[in-house]
Amino acid sequence: MTPTTLDVPATRRGGRKPSRRVRRLSRRDKLVLALMVGIPTLAHVVFVWVPTVASLLLSFTSWNGIGVNIHWVGLKNYTSLFTNFPAFWPALSHNFIWLGFFLVIPTPFGMFLAYQLNKQIRFTRFYQTAIFLPMVISLAVVGFIWEIIYNPDTGLLNSLFGTNKPGSYIDWLGNPHLNLWAVLIAASWRHAAYIMVLYLAGLKGMDPALAEAASIDGANEWQTFIRVIFPAMKPINIIIAVVTIIESLRAFDLVYVMGGNNGAKPGLELLSLLITNSIVGESPRIGFGSAIAVVLLVISLVVIIPYLVQTFRKERVR
């Protein structure tokens, strides 16, 4: 890139005068820019970041939602969450099981599908369209579709296995040892499609000469993938990891619907469900719910912060 003369001052910013370009803005231009940025930023901050900070603050208080009857209670919400709330540890571990399952099954499978679909083959558009369909449907509808499959009396699975008669029922969504896995299958149906499409876009943007060179050097397909393609796809791999982790933490709709349209069923507790349960209803426990939200926030930040650093590092030295 040949730097234009106008670009030069801007690239060396370290505490100097603003670039010439910026100085050329008229007062009216500055006002227009301020409004263009100010209004959306205000909306984003008020509706997203103020509640995030408020979650943190409220987690140290006790509030039943009536009036301004808010008391500072320090870490009490957290101690009772960790020691005295039976649903918390199952929920936390289910979120991690969810993540682990996603990382081991649908994510690699989606990448594998993308890799295969990237070979120049016939009917690839049909395969892609069919496999990608679940990604277009809302998670709530995905839940209903799978409920029809898992229904103990009338569902496809039990009808196929002959386990839809009294005495031999398999209660896929009711049995606390089974239901998380049943829901995870439905979630993977969608997640593999998502990963497939992200990875395929990455593969299409890659220089095919890389893989060709490796295969000319005598590498087999697996070696080519592991040693050449996978490392070259690092940016996409990071996106996929972030998407997978965030989706695992956000999981809500599917479990809500498949768990019978109310709060957490035994075996299906998730942090997101516990949070939502504690704010609505007869006696909301706002401080307590916020403490669960903070746990979710902290886990999310473990992913979000490195991602931001990695993504924007280049720009800081630009």
């Binding site: 008229s26 997203v48 496999i131 277009v136 209903f144 499409v197 979000i304």
Partner: protein, 310 residues
């Protein structure tokens, strides 16, 4: 490396298949295995949907006497027309429209504004701003729902905007607002990647000619961003229409809910058997399926524009 590998909608996803001229006419066994594998996967992926379609097309009498796993004696659209008329589905579809259209438009306007600022100028806060929006879009919605719910109960609305409640809670405005605020994060990220690929010289030439900032945005940058607009409009329409969580928590009046969230209440109340549930669920999915099949390329590129940032 100076080429920023960004935001170019270069997925050849929906392009017509390239004609492949095989060098040898010998059928390679590896290719056959690959096709068998892909065909099986595609079929397995379609089974849940097809099962729902099959169930929805059978009468309850048929399935209750012969079981659900049986050959249908007759196929009928009766479940669809029952679900449509008995449960008031048209109202919920209308609610979805009332929320989705303004939310998508406002999201695109807001995020293109911010992206223009971030991508085309070199102010010191730009990077921080872009990080703020990007991080906001990655937060799980449940992290903010508790204070947001309380905030909505506190923010007053004039009576004509939300008759009977006078607050942002339980209003279309509130649900539209959170969609816009939340989705603006993703769209700003995508737009700013896209706008950076436009050479600086183009707007600088306009600047030398005395064009105002607004004219640069409106007459130069925006027209060049049409592909990004098309992609994000498609993607965001589907996402916002598909939203379940915000509408579930931020509405208390059932008849105000959009179709995706209303479905949960309709089950049990009106959709009393599997056939009706299947019909209701499929009808909810139909608008998104139509949009996807018509605008597949836009949908996919919207999804991958954000990911292609190196």
């Amino acid at each position: 490396m100076t080429t920023s590998q960004v935001a170019v909608p270069r997925t050849s996803w929906a392009e017509p298949e390239r004609v492949i001229v095989p060098r040898k006419h010998r059928v390679r066994p590896a290719r056959v295995i690959l096709h068998v594998f892909l065909m099986l996967t595609a079929i397995v992926w379609l089974v849940p949907l097809l099962w729902a379609v099959y169930t929805s097309l059978r009468s309850y009498a048929d399935t209750s006497t012969h079981g659900y796993l049986s050959i249908a004696h007759a196929l009928t659209f009766q479940n669809f027309s029952n679900a449509w008329s008995q449960s008031g589905l048209p109202l919920y579809f209308w609610n979805s429209l009332l929320i989705t259209v303004p939310a998508v438009l406002l999201t695109l306007v807001f995020s293109s504004f911010v992206a223009f600022f971030v991508a085309r100028f070199d102010f010191r806060i730009n990077l921080a701003l872009l990080m703020l929006f990007t991080a906001g879009n990655l937060l799980p919605p449940q992290v903010i729902i508790t204070p947001l719910y309380r905030l909505y109960l506190l923010i007053p609305l004039p009576d004509f905007m939300n008759p009977g409640a006078d607050v942002l809670y339980d209003s279309y405005w509130g649900v539209i607002a959170i969609h816009v605020a939340f989705q603006a994060g993703f769209c700003t990220f995508v737009f700013s990647n896209y706008m950076r690929t436009i050479p600086k010289e183009i707007t600088e030439a306009a600047l030398v000619d005395g064009a105002s900032v607004w004219r640069q945005f409106w007459q130069i940058v925006l027209p060049l961003c049409r592909p990004a607009f098309a992609a994000l409009a498609t993607l965001e329409s589907i996402w916002i229409y598909n939203d379940f969580f915000w509408a579930l928590v931020l509405f208390s009046t059932g008849s105000k809910r959009p179709i995706t969230s209303a479905l949960a209440n309709l089950q049990g109340q009106y959709f009393t058997n599997q056939n009706l549930i299947a019909a209701g669920a499929l009808m909810t999915a139909i608008p998104t399926l139509i949009v996807y099949l018509l605008l597949q390329r836009q949908f996919i590129s919207g999804l991958t524009l954000g990911a292609n940032k190196g």
